[in-house]
């Protein structure tokens, strides 16, 4: 059986190579998806375990450690705790590079909550500092180098640490360094036991009951200023939000690629079987069983799929290993290492099984028929007399391609899915750019702000290019129960979601002047739920109360924010100054609008995006997506070449007749181009529609926990995808035409 299969493959070298290329392309996508998806999907857990990340991190105003510990140790479900003193805006300097936003974590003993990935941890010896991996990578620092730490002076780096409670510098604003309290106390002449703390790390017996511990922590936190809790799950959620989109996309891509490859391979196998029906008939007449024939086909498929799949998956993994590693490092996570081999092996198995199933099934079905019936079979595409030969050579090619209707639909579907994925990635790339600059993507739907109130509203709304303008009030308040929680209250007259619409996590949008939408950060700190009461102390000393209608995922001021209607605020504090939030038409000339607003005496400013400093991170994300996009493009090319080669093979005699009657290279190319276009053009159109109606909304829903995303293609993106597919169609035409033209005319005529 094996010898038969090998002989068969040798006999059809070119076709075998083509099939292998297709499998390689599909496996490439799967390999990239598995590498990035598995790395990101498990990266946080791996890093958190390695770093012994605490289950709860509490930040607060500096407090005497004993006083804090007295309250912390009384908490239920507590396994252990440790404390730090965090000093921000410390100047860090090394090798001629300087950052003023260093975060010095003075470790006050106990469990660390970070993983040393190079060098060693702080010891009792003087002059030691551990730095975070982000800073080390950015500045090229290693253990043994020195670092100037603010007023403390020059310290020797003894270790590089990773702590996944935040993303890494420079994605995070602050570069984190760790020193021991003994070192600081010795430098500044006080006893280590006198050190204050402003950070408590809590490890819980059962992290699933962290909410119970936090309820009690809140109850005993009176008098502790600026208290802020973040749980391990909260960190995972925050960091995972962005990664989650990528993972979801990659998983979707790999499935799409696999399905596309499977469809193409099945179509190819089916055509191959049809072509070899005569041989099957003879073999069956000679006594070969259907099982044996299917077995030979399976061995052939296996012989092609295994090396091609292995190569593809390996190439995919290698291709994105770099960007994936950088992505993980930016998120302060650890790469999977050898643990990735298991998922890759599983992916290879799936690819091989799909290919073998796609190759064997048609053979099995054909071989089960009686030998005589098999031998009577022939061309699968029936000629349709009576159809006029309109459209010239291009039309002829198109008719050739569409004659085998099922295969044509399969080819178009494959191209459509690939085109949809590529369009989605183009849309996402634009979105990532917008995330850097455009506040609209994180809930803000206006891009300009200006001084002014209701009296200027009409004027501003009348400016060409202004879609809408609203009066916005903003006031910094504190909770009315002296928890030390600060909060920002935002009020719009009317529906605030026209201007600011952070995604709703729980409950509903506010409907009246007595209601509020509360950010998750504030809700966590104050234990608010839909139906709870929010009591805020305004700077005027007045207290206002709102019933919580919904909890929203707000990124601004760590989610310590609430949206309300202005009536109550103005009643309590009439002096609050309003501003104007200005939303522009999508096609508006921003510069012209700004000039016009200047001219009418309402000079606007840009409303800033909330992720401005995340440019590098977004760049890495884009690189990963591009890597996957390239692989999807290869699948596209393969699908086109396969479809075209199949058509050329089936219409071998017709093409030979054309050439015999004097048609030159150009004519043959035109025929093939027609066949390619009839697949590529509907595929491109269907792909764009697929993205706009299915993939885009799906991804937007996946990302709903992160931001309001509008992932629909622009005209330019649609054109780009269309042109790209035309280019791929041209490339496929050239490739196949060269092969067709290499064949002697006589060979084709003999077949007819």
């Amino acid at each position: 059986m094996i010898a038969l299969a090998v002989a068969g493959l040798r006999a059809r070298r070119t076709r075998t190579l083509l099939a292998a290329l297709g499998i390689f392309a599909a496996a490439l996508v799967v390999g990239t998806a598995v590498t990035v998806g598995y790395g990101l999907g498990t990266g946080f857990g791996r890093a958190a375990d390695a770093a012994d990340l605490p289950d709860v991190i509490a930040r607060f105003s500096p407090e005497e450690r004993q006083r804090i510990d007295q309250r912390v140790r009384a908490l239920p479900n507590l396994e252990s705790r440790s404390y730090r003193f965090e000093v921000n805006n410390v100047v860090l300097e090394s090798r001629g590079r300087l950052v003023r936003s260093g975060a010095l974590h003075v470790v006050l003993g106990g469990r660390r909550g970070y993983d040393i990935v190079e060098g060693h941890d702080l010891t009792r010896r003087r002059g030691q500092v551990v730095i975070e991996r982000g800073l080390a990578t950015q500045w090229g620092l290693h253990p043994g180098d020195t670092l100037d730490v603010g007023r403390i002076g020059r310290e020797r780096i003894v270790g590089i640490a990773v702590s996944p409670d935040n993303v890494a510098y420079p994605l995070a604003k602050a570069a984190r360094v760790y020193m021991s309290i003994d070192e600081i106390a010795a430098r500044f002449g006080f006893a280590p036991s006198q050190a204050n703390a402003n950070l408590a790390l809590l490890w819980l017996r059962d992290p699933a009951h962290a909410d119970v511990t936090l309820t009690q922590a809140r109850a005993v936190s009176f008098g502790i200023g600026r208290l802020e809790f973040i749980t391990r799950d909260g960190v995972r959620l925050l960091i995972g939000q962005a990664a989650g989109i990528v993972i979801s996309l990659l998983v979707a891509f790999s499935l799409v690629a696999l399905a596309a490859a499977g469809t193409m391979l099945a179509a190819g196998a089916h055509a191959d079987v049809q072509r070899r029906l005569a041989a099957f008939g003879v073999q069956r007449a000679l006594g070969f069983t259907p099982r044996r024939l299917a077995g030979v086909q399976a061995v052939e498929a296996l012989a092609v799929a295994l090396p091609a799949g292995l190569l593809g998956i390996t190439a995919g993994a290698v291709a994105v290993a770099g960007p994936a590693g950088r992505l993980l490092a930016a998120l302060n996570e650890l790469p999977p290492g050898a643990a990735l081999l298991g998922p890759l092996a599983l992916a290879l198995l799936v690819v091989v099984l799909v290919v073998v199933a796609a190759g064997t099934w048609p053979a099995w079905r054909a071989a089960r028929r009686p030998p005589a019936e098999i031998l009577r079979g022939g061309e699968i595409a029936s000629r349709r007399p009576g159809r006029s030969a309109r459209g010239g050579l291009l039309g002829l090619g198109a008719r050739f391609a569409t004659a085998a209707r099922a295969r044509w639909i399969a080819a178009v579907a494959t191209i459509a899915v690939c085109a949809g994925v590529v369009t989605l990635m183009l849309s996402l790339a634009s979105l990532l750019e917008h995330l850097r600059d455009d506040p609209g993507t994180v809930g803000k739907r206006y891009s300009l702000v200006a001084q002014g109130g209701t009296d200027r509203l009409r004027e501003v709304e009348a400016v060409p290019g202004v879609d809408a303008a609203g009066v916005r009030y903003q006031v910094e308040a504190a909770d009315a129960f002296r928890l030390g929680e600060s909060m920002r209250l935002i009020a719009f007259s009317g529906d605030h979601t026209r201007f600011e619409a952070p995604p709703l996590a729980e409950g509903r949008r506010l409907r009246g002047p007595g209601e509020a939408e509360v950010g998750e950060g504030l809700a966590d700190a104050l234990g608010l739920r839909p139906g709870s009461m929010l009591a805020a102390q305004l700077p005027s000393g007045q207290e206002v109360r709102f019933r919580v209608a919904g909890i929203v995922r707000a990124l601004e001021v760590s989610g310590r924010i609430a949206w309300v209607r202005p009536a109550k605020l103005l009643a309590a504090s009439p002096g609050i100054q309003p501003s104007l939030a200005i939303r522009l038409d999508p096609d508006a000339d921003r510069g012209a609008v700004v000039r016009r607003l200047d001219a009418i005496g309402v000079p606007p400013q840009s409303a800033s995006g909330a992720t401005t400093r995340n440019g590098q991170f977004l760049g890495i994300l884009a690189a990963v997506l591009r890597g996957v996009g390239l692989a999807v493009g290869l699948v596209c090319l393969y699908a086109l070449v396969q479809a075209l080669a199949m058509t050329a093979r089936e219409r071998r005699s017709a093409v030979a007749t054309l050439r015999a009657t004097g048609a030159g290279r150009g004519a043959v190319a035109l025929v093939l181009a027609g066949a390619a276009l009839v697949v590529a053009v509907p595929g491109a159109l269907a792909g764009i529609v697929l993205e706009a109606l299915v993939l885009g909304p799906l991804v937007a829903r996946l990302a709903a926990s992160f931001a309001d995303l509008a992932v629909s293609p622009t005209l330019a993106q649609a054109l780009l995808v269309g042109l790209g597919l035309l280019a791929l169609a041209a490339a496929a035409t050239v490739l196949v035409a060269r092969r067709v033209l290499r064949e002697p005319v006589v060979a084709g005529l003999r077949e007819s």
Binding site: D206, V212, T213, A219, F222, R482, L526, G527, S532
Partner: protein, 492 residues
């Protein structure tokens, strides 16, 4: 069947159950046995948090261990069995005459609010049911039966102890306190929204119920919370207006700087109740049943409910027999002038001496709310007890903590026993069995009894355990040697 035979049979049954539990644990089948064990006696099983996650589950029992400090002979026949319930703090948690917002300041204000305070009636009922299963001959309720000396609190407590219909609600129908789901104050646990969530707990806690009642005669002692507002302040006309009024102060005035010493705290509480409520707070339904009847009236009601005759008017000092061999002396230690520290006036000391003399050859147990060792005039009372060789123990409440310490005296000594409350974790009652010992002495066996956790009493215990200002972190359960022990009184 005689009380003695019942006692012997009960002891045998307990011993068999304890042995079965021990064997089951030794055989490695502990968990199912513990789960199915009857709630109540901690000799059989008790509630533990083996994985430290903050949630209780039934575990193995704690066997009696012999305290060696005052050795006696081998225990023999049972002379008396009796139980103790203490610091039940039946609370009208909806009353305007409260200062729950002070709880966030920590000690000494931590008892002004408890997450499980709305279920105090049901917890007492659960404690009563558990104690009934132990079949005591008498039950001593050693003070702080109510939380803030209100008439409706006393009504509820007496109804629960005697059995019958109990209405825990006050004001309008339904809960109207600081734990409502829409309370904006993050320092109050709100069972409908905060973790662990118990939706509907408050509504269930306010529903009338039929209490089982103690089967044995019960003998009350007054505590400071029974006769003083919030256990600290004598009622005044101004406080009375607040209590029966319709303004509930539920937030802490940011400018308030209350003193942390107890005397200052009492004064601050009085001031807050008398002055603050008039100008702030929210409107709640008024209820005239929230009035404070005053110490004398409360003593009178308790005495009548229990069927005892106080030695003097206005103070709940009396003595009763428990069986033929035991004389119980109940002392009123509450300082009517205010504060939680106990006080024994000179006249009471004289009465104590006389009662000791009257006890004759019977074994003597003294029951008080405040521990004598920390009460004004208590040392003199202890010296009087030191001189009496028949004194077995002084049993007190107030501290909400299980403690057992020997008091060595010239005549040999006796035991000072403190018992945890039903208000805070571990929400246990205490059982006693006095047995004759070989050689002429006696052995006092004592063990804790868990409230049975039925209905809202279950969540109440869980909340009491989680409370970061409650009995768990404070170690109110005490050491093993403060709970289930065998205490000797040598012959003299």
């Amino acid at each position: 069947m005689s009380a003695r035979r019942i006692g012997v049979l009960a002891a045998a049954a307990v011993a068999v159950l304890a042995a079965v539990a021990a064997i089951a644990a030794a055989c490695g089948s502990g968990a199912p046995a513990a789960e199915t064990a009857r709630p109540g006696s901690t000799l059989v099983s008790t509630l533990v948090d083996p994985d430290g996650d903050g949630f209780l589950q039934r575990g193995p029992g704690e066997p009696l261990r012999t305290r060696p400090e005052l050795p006696a002979g081998r225990p023999g026949r049972t002379l008396a069995t009796f139980g103790q319930l203490t610091d039940t703090h039946v609370r009208d948690e909806e009353s305007p005459a409260r200062v729950p917002f002070l709880d966030r300041l920590g000690a000494p204000f931590t008892s002004t609010f408890r997450p499980q305070e709305a279920e105090s009636d049901q917890v007492l009922d659960a404690g009563v049911r558990s104690l009934d299963r132990e079949h005591p001959q008498a039950v001593f309720v050693t003070g702080d039966i109510t939380d803030s000396a209100q008439e409706n609190e006393l009504d509820q407590a007496i109804a629960t102890l005697r059995g019958g219909r109990v209405d825990p609600d006050s004001g309008a129908r339904g809960y109207d306190g600081v734990q409502q789901a829409d309370s904006p104050d993050p320092f109050f646990y709100r069972p409908d929204v905060d973790a662990p969530r118990f939706p509907g707990l408050l509504a269930r806690a306010e529903r009338p119920f039929t209490a089982t009642g103690l089967r044995a005669p019960w003998y009350p002692t007054v505590g400071n919370h029974d006769v003083l507002v919030q256990g600290e302040v004598p009622p005044t006309a101004a406080i009375e207006r607040v209590a029966t009024g319709n303004r509930l102060v539920d937030t802490l005035d940011p400018s308030l700087r209350p003193p942390r010493d107890e005397a200052g705290a009492a004064a601050a509480t009085a001031r807050l109740l008398a002055e603050h409520a008039a100008s702030s707070g929210r409107r709640v339904p008024a209820d005239p049943r929230r009035r404070h009847p005053g110490a004398a009236a409360i003593v009178d009601r308790l005495a009548r409910a229990a069927g005892v005759t106080p030695a003097q008017a206005g103070r709940l000092d009396y003595a009763v027999d428990v069986g033929a061999s035991v004389r119980a002396i109940v002392l009123d230690t509450v300082n009517r002038a205010g504060g939680s520290r106990g006080l024994l006036p000179p006249g009471e000391l004289r009465w104590l001496r006389a009662e000791l003399a009257r006890a004759g050859s019977r074994w003597v147990l003294v029951f008080t709310h405040n521990p004598l060792e920390s009460s004004a005039g208590g040392e003199a009372a202890l010296r009087a007890l030191d001189a009496d060789p028949r004194v077995v123990a002084v049993v007190a409440g107030n501290r909400h903590r299980n403690t057992i310490e020997p008091r060595r005296a010239g005549g040999g000594g006796y035991w000072l026993i403190g018992t945890s409350s039903l208000a805070d974790f571990p929400q246990q009652a205490r059982m006693f069995r006095l047995r004759a010992a070989s050689g002429g002495g006696v052995v006092l066996e004592t063990w804790m009894v868990d409230q049975d956790g039925r209905g809202v009493a279950g969540p109440a215990r869980e909340l009491a355990y989680l409370d970061a200002q409650g009995g768990r972190p404070a170690g109110f359960a005490g050491r093993p040697q403060d709970r289930n022990v065998r205490l000797g009184i040598p012959a003299r």
